[in-house]
């Protein structure tokens, strides 16, 4: 009696169609919602509308994660990755902007794919705020970290651990600077002023620039240091899971 065939590719990657649908949700549906909010509430409740938008964009992805029927090992590994992110955020608590969190989220996206990257990012923001305190910034952070992880998955997950480190670093720097940074800066502006102007937006971005740059540089440094050994370790664990893979229903 021969049992069990080894799975060659233990991790499902998202197919292109799914990616397009998800991207549509994020980049098309949401602007529509914003426009709707503007017309109905004659453009006064920016923060509330944007908060709704954040939640609406985080939810479908999390529901997708939910529906995909996660296996035990995926949940176990993703929770370890998230815990690493949260712990690293806590460990570097004293040094503002110098955190490996984004780097580990990107690595998760690269290795586990876009959806998982988003989940790790969103989960990291949520859980670390269990420790640091929730606030109006939580949904924004979930979204911002989630998008970083998601994009890392979309762009790099095909090659997994064979991606050149340099490319990852460039992506890391850019995504932290221009995606995470800009999302969070916009959030703080919207929170402070319910009548944002372009001028105000630019000023906030300008003042946020040094902080975002520091964050981006630290992410690049951590990616440079961590990505290779980290991906190697993850590959080893994947192989170990492959061998220990259960016999299955015969």
């Amino acid at each position: 009696m021969q049992v069990g065939t080894e799975q060659k590719k233990p991790y499902k990657r998202m197919n292109i169609k799914k990616v397009i649908v998800t991207v549509c949700v994020i980049f098309v549906l949401i602007p529509c919602l914003i426009a709707l909010g503007m017309t109905v509430w004659d453009d006064k409740k920016y923060y509330l509308v944007s908060l709704g938008v954040m939640i609406l964009s985080v939810l479908p992805l999390l529901i997708r994660f939910e529906k995909s029927g996660q296996k035990a090992r995926e949940v176990a590994l993703l929770s370890v990755m998230t815990a690493l992110c949260v712990a690293s955020r806590a460990a570097f608590y004293m040094i503002p902007q110098f955190k490996p969190t984004a780097a580990i989220i990107i690595i998760s996206g690269v290795f586990f794919g876009a959806e998982a990257g988003f989940t790790v990012g969103a989960c990291t923001a949520l859980v670390s705020n269990f420790f640091f305190g929730q606030g109006p910034w939580t949904p924004w952070q979930m979204f911002a970290f989630g998008v970083v992880g998601f994009l890392a998955g979309v762009l790099f997950s095909k090659k997994g651990d064979k991606n050149p480190v340099l490319l990852l670093c460039i992506f890391g720097g850019i995504s932290v600077m221009f995606i995470y940074g800009i999302i969070m800066d916009t959030a703080s502006l919207l929170l402070m002023s319910s009548h944002p102007t372009l001028e105000g937006l630019f000023t906030v971005y300008a003042t946020g620039l040094p902080f975002n740059a520091a964050h981006a540089v630290s992410t690049v440094i951590f990616l440079l240091l961590l990505s290779k050994p980290f991906l190697k370790k993850l590959c080893r664990i994947r192989n170990k899971f492959g061998i220990a893979e259960h016999v299955g229903e015969q």
């Binding site: 999390l62 939910e66 269990f130 929730q134 002023s193 319910s194 220990a244």
Partner: protein, 293 residues
């Protein structure tokens, strides 16, 4: 100064109803009176939950937020009729200043309510609420929460062990840190292999998961939720009808004298203070019980 908060012992759904309504209302209604009520109630509740010292320090920490908010609004909003002065050719208006103050009132009210939220809504309650909608995600939250302190302890243990082993000689601090991290990550990932087995062996994935909760929706939860819904609806009605409304531009004007608006504001006061009312009635009840003994 640890006091038992009656509101905390209610069902998380009731608590979430209260917090989300108050937060949304505070963000939605830019009305100084409403925001002041919201802030004052939040402060009183925070005082009860975390003591004077913590509440005051939190309030002081918000002063720069107020200044920043007012400044941002005055500098970048040039609408409004009464011009105070010109700054590098751009008008700075009184309306923008009023708006800035109202915004900052909103901001600190929101932050204050969040500080109450963080004290009342333990991670267990938040995970319960998430689990209603997203059970796997909620499971992941639980597992993460369990791993974080473990991981931090492991890092400590590894760093001590390597120090005691005496192999740090001649290697830089960075290299040392990296090797500590490397070992910790390997340990954590190895743990995941066993944890996955342990999950499978306890039936994970062979049935749709249910969520066990220790929270029961009691009759007092029903009463409190009904009250919250009633006050909330009255207040929301008067807001939607335009009875509680404040205009900033072009001139500052507040409406809030009609019967409907006063009813709405009164309902909001009642709503915001339900947690404290519960606490006081509980305190009185205990006083009575004590005096009988």
């Amino acid at each position: 100064m640890e006091r038992r908060d009656k509101f905390s012992s209610l069902h998380p759904l009731t608590q979430m109803l209260c917090f989300s309504y108050v937060l949304i209302m505070s963000m939605f209604v830019m009305h100084p009176v409403m925001l002041f009520i919201s802030l004052a109630s939040a402060c009183i509740y925070a005082l009860y939950l975390s003591g004077t010292k913590k509440m005051l320090s939190l309030l002081f920490a918000m002063i720069p937020v107020i200044i920043l908010t007012v400044a941002v609004n005055m500098l970048f909003n040039h609408r409004g009729e009464s011009i105070l002065f010109y700054l590098s050719g751009k008008p700075v208006t009184r309306e923008a200043m009023y708006f800035g103050f109202t915004s900052s009132l909103m901001l600190i009210a929101v932050l204050m309510w969040f500080s109450c939220y963080n004290a009342v809504m333990t991670s267990e309650k938040q995970m319960y609420l998430f689990g209603k909608l997203l059970p796997s995600f909620s499971l992941m939250l639980t597992m993460t929460l369990r791993l974080v302190p473990d991981f931090i302890r492991k890092i400590n243990e590894i760093s001590n062990a390597q120090k005691g082993f005496g192999a740090e000689k001649g290697s830089s601090k960075l290299k040392n840190g990296m090797s500590i991290l490397s070992t910790a990550v390997t340990c954590a990932l190895e743990g995941a292999v066993i944890r996955a087995d342990s999950m499978k062996s306890r039936g994970y994935g062979c049935e749709r998961r249910t969520q066990y909760t220790r929270f029961v929706f009691k009759s007092e939860d029903k009463t409190v939720s009904a009250l919250l819904l009633l006050f909330g609806a009255v207040c929301a009605y008067s807001v939607i009808k335009g009875a509680v409304y404040c205009e900033f531009y072009p001139t500052f004007s507040v409406n809030g004298t009609s019967a409907l608006s006063i009813t709405g504001i009164f309902a909001f006061i009642l709503f915001c203070n339900i947690p404290m009312t519960l606490n006081f009635s509980e305190d009185i009840k205990w006083q009575v019980i004590k005096s009988r003994i």
